[in-house]
């Protein structure tokens, strides 16, 4: 069956087309869907597109940031208000991929891809999706846990509360190849401070499980404490707890477990 391309002006129509056809995939930046077609994935026979301007919008003026699903990493890098997201955006691909790849598509990128989503997880973002039954807001953690079943849903946008200070959000991607490489692991931390205490710590890890996960034990080690050497050390030790990394071409599960604490320590102590 040849491939059919369906282009809609509204996201609603696109979502309907997507949910009614098991062989349909939504085309964002092309880095996932076009690759699959190039490699002979015949399970895709319909490409759905939407020229909906809402999906291209960046709203970063208030305390809540909303990124349309079609926003590319290059656009994030061009946005001064989103400086805290420049490190994760810059860690994706090379310049061409950043001009193409989108925030929405990254939610579907499996290991060793999908680094931006780790940052979104640390920010406890909300994913706006439109399915056959209308639109809804899904917490990112929940979205990721059911990601495999989400091919029929259309992501419209992702939103999150802007970190109170530049220092409160930290990100690093550990890659073998520089400057562009696949992740061995990816770390993102959100450390809001109340006075000298961390309140509401969130630590997210990529490549430490089949999907990006929160490092809850490390978060507990940080919660309510000041970010000193002993806190950092306790969080680093706890980083591996609850993770279930796998082996892949870039590193083994053993290696990931060994280094996740080292890199969390470095991230929290400003060495990375």
């Amino acid at each position: 069956m040849p491939v059919t391309v369906k282009t809609f002006t509204s996201s609603g129509e696109a979502a309907a087309a997507l949910s009614s056809d098991r062989s349909a995939r939504y085309l964002g930046g092309g880095t996932l869907v076009m690759r699959a077609l190039n490699e002979g994935d015949v399970s895709i026979s319909t490409i759905v597109r939407a020229n909906d301007h809402a999906m291209m919008r960046i709203d970063a003026t208030g305390s809540r940031v909303t990124l349309g699903a079609g926003v590319t990493f290059a656009r994030i890098l061009a946005e001064r208000d989103l400086a805290f997201l420049h490190p994760p955006a810059r860690s994706i691909g090379g310049p061409a991929v950043r001009n193409m790849g989108t925030v929405g598509g990254n939610l579907f990128a499996s290991n060793p891809y999908g680094d931006f989503t780790v940052a979104m997880l640390a920010l406890d973002a909300t994913v706006s999706v439109q399915g056959g039954l209308g639109s809804r807001e899904v917490p990112i953690e929940e979205f990721l846990q059911s990601r495999e079943r989400q091919t029929g849903t259309l992501v419209l946008a992702i939103s999150f509360t802007k970190p109170a200070s530049a220092d409160a959000f930290r990100y690093c991607k550990i890659a073998r190849i520089k400057p562009k490489g696949g992740a061995v692991i990816t770390l993102a931390a959100y450390l809001p401070m109340n006075g000298s205490r961390i309140v509401g710590a969130r630590v997210a890890l990529g490549s430490m499980a089949p999907i990006p996960i929160r490092a809850r034990a490390a978060e507990r080690a940080l919660e309510g404490r000041s970010l000193d050497a002993s806190t950092i050390s306790a969080a680093a030790t706890a980083a591996v707890e609850g993770t279930s990394p796998g082996d892949n071409a870039l590193a083994s599960a053993w290696y990931r477990r060994e280094i996740v604490g080292v890199h969390l320590r470095r991230l929290l102590s400003g060495q990375e």
Binding site: P2, V3, V5, T31, M34, P95, A96, N99, M100, K180
Partner: protein, 159 residues
């Protein structure tokens, strides 16, 4: 098979072609327009040999659905010469012996052009970043980095 009509600017010239559903821009350029300068290296977005500029932005033509360039401007290595004269980047690549097998060269040149078009005086780190999506298996990158820096200094001297 149903085909879709597609018009866009190719190296400053209007072109019109009919594409099959799902055709990527690399195939459209090579097989339908006959511009062989972008190369197939992986079809996965990993090597950059198919790099082109779309409205001045660096894109991977193998991951671009052809019909998404309707009405837009696509620039390939075939279009960067100034008439019979080489682009300063082409001259710098030659002078620095920055090609061996030559297969990555078209993509490298487009990545470098995307950089210099926006930043005429890049640092070495910026050059490294600009070509980081492009794989070269022959040169070890050093001559390519030097060539881009040399091209930038030529344009600086001219300015």
């Amino acid at each position: 098979m149903a085909k879709t009509a597609l018009q866009f600017r190719h190296n400053g010239r209007d072109v019109a072609i009919f594409v099959d559903g799902g055709t990527n821009l690399l195939v459209a350029l090579r097989e339908l327009i006959g511009d062989m300068t972008p190369k197939f290296g992986c079809g996965q977005g990993g090597c950059g040999t198919c790099s082109v500029l779309i409205d001045g932005e660096l894109h991977l033509s193998c991951l671009t659905l052809a019909e998404t360039v309707a009405g837009r401007s696509v620039e390939t290595l075939d279009g960067i010469k100034d008439g019979p004269n080489l682009h300063p980047l082409q001259r710098a690549f030659a002078d620095n012996f920055a090609a061996q097998c030559g297969y990555c060269t078209p993509g490298m040149l487009m990545a470098a052009k995307a950089l210099l078009d926006r930043n005429s005086q890049p640092s070495r780190a910026e050059v490294v970043e600009a070509i980081s999506g492009n794989i070269c298996r022959c040169t070890g990158y050093e001559p390519i980095i030097n060539a881009v820096l040399a091209a930038a200094s030529v344009s600086r001297a001219r300015a």
